[in-house]
């Protein structure tokens, strides 16, 4: 029942928003819905820890530690984004009449799609069938498309077009990978079998390696497009910078993880069939390339939301490298990085959304003195920026440290050193830009003061975890991470 309920809630919320008469209703339904999803995700995590996995709806839904970890991340960022949406949209649409006509329609459009987007992302980790996984990942693109183009400016429409075309090509390649993976097991399981993870995982070692090799390549390139791995990342900065703040947080914090989850599932099938060398080489190449592209392009950015978008490319690269290094420590670090990145990046997009509402520009050069005008947001930008670039004592420092030590321990000396150097480079660029925005003289004629309490609450919850996970990792979470690493073949 648990997983079914988890999926039904956002769907129901979506339906209610479709007919809700006023703004207050949509806000209430969305926040309560996402809060319930978060609670249910916690309960489901508890059950998975006890039983190893849960399966429902005659095995169509299946969750093990890896799925539930992803669900938790989606649920948490979903909840904070819902909270943040309230204040953001109220401020953003303050000059529009939202009780009727076009204003109400836009608002409805936002909340309906928000819940639908959340639903499609939640389907990804809990679907047992690799085919349904594919359908859900394609679904996330379609559900979020009109959220990206929400402002309907020329730039937003262009970003949406690029997003859907590049994303669809990627997803088509992933379909080919899925078909090949299906075919790779035909000799083991017969010509008609359910393309289920729970069926394939036990026989993974006997899958046809020649076909699996090709399948994994297509999966990494295909889902990697959606996950923002370079050089397929071209849609990402546009979509992230043109979308409304809370949607950027969802895109970067969880959508990328959903696509990455797809790669991880296939990784767990590819390693027993092919051995470590080939998947490692593939993930290492794309990971390092992503880091390199991010490091080179981050210096050229004039738009702070694009800056954050490139930082997502960077972090997806780091996670891939972590998985490639492998072993219990590398996988543990990579999964911890998934959690930390989602929370930290959503915090940063929330804060940058506040800056955008106040300054009404995305240009870094025209923003200064944030700390004077928005004292809380300014401090959070500093904390989040330090955390995001991997400074101690925040969460990302711990996970990047684990990944690096895994790299050194497993003998990947050169990749680990290159990774370290690139991270240092990105650190410099990031703090240079942030310093410019946060300090200095604020522009005249802008009234100081934060805009919304719910936005502050959303950012407060995120920063609590950003700092908290840097200081210590609670036992249930670390158990879950270890179990999830074991699913990927990194058992201790």
């Amino acid at each position: 029942m648990l997983l079914t309920l988890l999926l039904l809630i956002p769907l129901l919320a979506c339906g209610i928003c479709l007919i809700a008469p006023a703004r207050r209703w949509m806000e209430l339904v969305t926040v309560v819905g996402t809060a319930l999803v978060l609670v249910l995700a916690g309960v489901a995590a508890h059950q998975v820890m006890l039983a190893g996995h849960i399966a429902e709806l005659s095995d169509w839904l299946y969750a093990d530690a890896l799925s539930i970890l992803t669900v938790l991340v989606i649920a948490f960022v979903g909840f904070t984004s819902a909270l943040y949406s309230l204040g953001y949209l109220r401020e953003d649409m303050r000059e529009q009449d939202v009780t009727r006509g076009e204003g109400l329609r836009d608002l409805r459009h936002y909340y309906v799609l928000f819940n639908l987007f959340l639903f499609s992302m939640l389907v990804v980790p809990v679907s047992n069938s690799l085919g349904v996984l594919w359908i859900a990942i394609e679904g996330t693109t379609l559900a979020s498309l009109f959220l990206v183009s929400f402002y309907r400016t020329g730039e937003a429409l262009e970003a949406a077009w690029k997003y859907v075309i590049v994303g669809s090509v990627g997803i088509a390649l992933a379909l080919f990978g899925t078909i090949l993976a299906y075919y790779s097991a035909v000799q083991v399981l017969g010509s008609t079998y359910d393309l289920n993870w729970s069926v394939l995982a036990p026989v993974a070692a006997r899958l046809n390696p020649g076909v699996m090799r090709l399948a994994f390549l297509f999966i990494v390139v295909g889902y990697g497009t959606k996950a923002g791995l370079a050089p397929m990342h071209t849609w990402l900065p546009d979509a992230h910078s043109e979308a409304p703040g809370p949607i950027s947080a969802l895109l970067s914090g969880v959508l990328l993880n959903c696509a990455l989850y797809g790669i991880l599932r296939f990784y767990a099938l590819a390693v027993p069939s092919l051995g470590h060398a080939y998947p490692t080489a593939l993930l290492l190449t794309f990971g390092l390339l992503s880091l390199l592209v991010a490091a080179l392009l981050i210096f050229r950015q004039r738009d702070y939301k694009r800056l954050l978008a490139y930082s997502s490319v960077e972090h997806m690269g780091i996670i891939s490298i972590g998985v490639a290094f492998g072993g219990p420590l590398g996988l543990y670090g990579a999964l911890l990085q998934v959690v930390n990145h989602a929370i930290t990046k959503s915090l940063m997009f929330f804060a940058s959304g506040q800056v955008l509402l106040k300054y009404e520009t995305k240009n870094i050069d025209r923003v200064s003195g944030v700390i004077r005008l928005l004292p809380v947001t300014g401090s959070l930008l500093i904390v989040g920026g330090l955390a995001l670039t991997g400074s101690p004592p925040f969460g990302i420092f711990i996970s990047e440290f684990s990944i690096l030590s895994a790299g050194f321990r497993q003998g990947y000396l050169l990749p680990a050193i290159v990774m370290l150097a690139l991270i240092a480079l990105i650190f410099i660029a990031f703090l240079f830009f942030l310093n410019r925005m946060v300090f200095g003289k604020p522009p005249e004629g802008v009234k100081p003061g934060e805009t919304s309490y719910t936005s502050l609450l959303a950012m407060g919850l995120s920063v609590l975890l950003v700092v908290g996970l840097g200081v210590f990792i609670p036992t249930p979470l670390s158990d879950l991470l270890h179990q999830a690493a074991a699913v990927l073949g990194g058992g201790q």
Partner: protein
């Protein structure tokens, strides 16, 4: 399962006197390639749409033929769904979007049509030469169908990158998808029915959503020419 094994044997021994099944599939494969070229050669969107409808119809026939020889009822359903969704609804949606875009009905190629056809011929050759290498030796794939679907994927990518009109780009995407769909039937005799119908549903929704987006772009920027979409860089 028995029928499956027998078809496996048929295709594995295709060098021996070709049976009716293999001949039929080869003929359909050739037609499939022909419609794909027709799509590339189309000057007007309406012509390209017709080529796409024909292409989808042939894929439905392929599904039906493979379904007949493998006694797979699921593939019949897939065939019917393909005709309804692709030849019917998708073509109808794209046609109505095209009619709404009053002025722009050409494909707007970056490259002339003769040059495009030449490139596509080369891509097809490439597909035919690489597909045996792609298939592990000793497996029971029959090579020509796989080569044709790989050729369709490559040509689809080419259409996507060489045509400026937004609708033409959607058709490129749909050609890629058709190539993969036929590939799934050719190499794995189709995926589980629920997955196949889910994919069809996804494609349908994708076309609806993209059609809506094109309409918005047209209304906002008074163009459906993607070369005019170039403000976002780096």
């Amino acid at each position: 399962m028995d029928a499956f094994v027998s078809l496996t044997l048929i295709s594995a021994t295709a060098a021996a006197p070709p049976t009716l099944a293999v001949q039929l599939l080869q003929a359909l494969g050739a037609l499939l390639l022909l419609t794909t070229f027709a799509l590339v050669a189309a000057r007007l969107l309406s012509g390209a749409l017709q080529a796409y409808a024909l292409q989808s119809l042939i894929i439905a026939l392929v599904a039906a033929v493979v379904g007949y020889y493998t006694h797979s009822f699921d593939l019949y359903i897939v065939a019917v769904l393909t005709v309804v969704v692709k030849c019917g609804v998708i073509v109808w949606i794209l046609r109505s979007v095209t009619q709404r875009l009053h002025v722009q009905r050409e494909m707007r190629p970056y490259l002339g049509i003769p040059a495009s056809l030449l490139i596509c011929a080369l891509l097809t050759l490439l597909a035919f030469f690489t597909s045996p290498a792609v298939v592990a030796p000793g497996t029971f794939l029959n090579e020509p169908p796989l080569a044709i679907s790989i050729a369709m994927v490559l040509i689809g990518l080419f259409i996507l990158s060489s045509r400026r009109h937004a609708i033409a780009q959607i058709l490129g995407l749909l050609t890629i998808e058709n190539g993969l769909f036929s590939g799934a039937i050719a190499i794995a005799y189709g995926m589980p029915l629920i997955v196949e119908s889910g994919i069809l549903f996804d494609v349908l929704v994708a076309v609806m959503v993209m059609g809506l987006l094109v309409t918005l772009i047209q209304r906002e920027l008074i163009t459906a020419d993607t070369a005019d979409l170039r403000r976002l860089k780096g």
